[in-house]
């Protein structure tokens, strides 16, 4: 189980000659908008995946990523170098995603309609051009995504940050502002719940691989 996405631009920057996230945001705070463009380039896709896995809707996820960068642009001076930039931007994105979830709860009827259309999508994958293995991958992904979306919010957030985004427990603790022990416990419980929900799928996959 390794860190997958390398989450922080600082780590990536340290390996090469690229400026760190903290250097970029400092330059942006001093009026260098090119530094902001570099941050956007660095974080847009990881943030999209984080929010998409959290909400389950790609279009909404992209809107939230837009809003996240807009907030960073508008509130650039609120960032202080006591925390990592990645922690700061993921906290903003996570809060926006949670707000979206609350909004969805209020519009429950609309949400039910959306779920139905998602289920339809799940039942009828586009078979026109994809080979069988690709269809399986798509279906597997959809099932996994559905299982993630059905997790309680507090478990969903940590599992996405840990297993999809590849953050360390300490970083997750800073992002969601919850003690380290609680984060570890939530990650474990989320994994147990997912293996329970995806039992049939995992069994099938085991059989295929055997």
């Amino acid at each position: 189980m390794t860190k997958t996405q390398g989450s922080s631009g600082t780590e990536r920057a340290q390996q090469g000659s690229q400026p760190t996230d903290e250097e970029l945001i400092a330059r942006f705070q001093n009026g260098d908008t090119y530094a902001f463009d570099l941050l956007v380039r660095r974080y847009k896709d990881p943030l999209l995946n984080f929010i998409y896995r959290f909400l389950g809707d790609l279009v909404e996820a992209e809107d939230i990523v837009q809003e996240t960068f807009y907030r960073v642009y508008k509130n650039k001076h609120y960032y202080k170098e006591v925390a990592k930039f990645s922690t700061w931007i993921y906290t903003i994105a996570g809060n926006l995603a949670k707000t979206e979830l609350r909004r969805r709860k209020r519009r429950k009827v609309f949400s039910i309609h959306k779920e139905t259309s998602a289920e339809k999508e799940l039942e009828l994958p586009d078979l026109k051009s994809d080979p069988e293995s690709e269809v399986n991958t798509v279906v597997t992904e959809k099932l996994i995504q559905k299982a993630i979306t059905s997790l309680p919010q507090k478990f969903r957030q940590v599992i996405v940050l840990r297993d999809i985004q590849g953050f360390s427990y300490e970083e997750i603790s800073s992002i969601i502002k919850v003690p380290l022990g609680t984060v570890k416990s939530r990650v474990n419980r989320a994994r147990l719940k997912l293996q329970e929900d995806l039992d049939f799928l995992l069994e099938d996959l085991e059989n295929i691989s055997n």
């Binding site: 995946n49 837009q66 807009y70 570890k184 147990l192």
Partner: protein, 178 residues
């Protein structure tokens, strides 16, 4: 909580190699004993692997363009609103200052010290010098040396000595018509 349930809490730590040596050994012993725990551990590892291998989505090609548009369209009115707010604060401050000054000036001019009816009753309104103040122990009827404080004693004809009066040259009026 049974031993198996307790061990379930260690699955992630075991998979991430973050258990202390004694607990690690205890967990491995439990794995050997319990098939259920063993299967569960394998599946948790599989779930975690599946999650990390999920397809990575990318933002649309026009993401940056849309973002720039959003920043420009949304922040411009905000800036002007902020400017308007700042100016309105300054303007209201100036107005309040003017009103306050006007009110204070009015209050001062209408104050009791300045009203004609009470003007004489207060000594401090028009301060009088020590020489001008009347000594209450002195009877004004007998001696009133301060009655004409600003008058020059030498110009007062009543105080001129009689001898001086005598020496005063007599003025002759000459008829110039002649």
């Amino acid at each position: 909580m049974g031993d198996s349930d307790r061990m379930k809490n260690y699955i992630s730590d075991y998979l991430e190699n973050s258990l202390d040596p004694s607990t690690h050994k205890e967990f491995e012993d439990a794995l050997k004993r319990s098939r259920e725990l063993s299967t569960m551990t394998d599946r948790v590892a599989a779930v975690s692997a599946h999650l990390s291998n999920l397809k990575k989505h990318t933002c649309s090609d026009d993401f940056s363009v849309k973002l720039r548009e959003k920043i420009h369209t949304t922040s411009e009115p905000l800036i002007s609103r902020r400017t308007v707010l700042r100016y309105s604060f300054a303007a209201s401050f100036v107005i309040i200052l003017v009103i306050a000054t006007f009110t204070i000036t009015n209050l001062m001019s209408d104050s009791p010290e300045n009203t004609p009816t009470l003007q004489g009753s207060t000594q401090n309104a028009n301060p009088v010098s020590a020489e001008e103040q009347v000594d209450p122990l002195v009877d004004e009827g007998e001696l009133n040396i301060n009655s004409k404080p600003n008058e020059n004693a030498f110009s007062d004809s009543s105080r001129v000595q009689p001898e001086e009066k005598k020496n005063k040259p007599k003025i002759k009026y000459v008829d110039q018509k002649k």
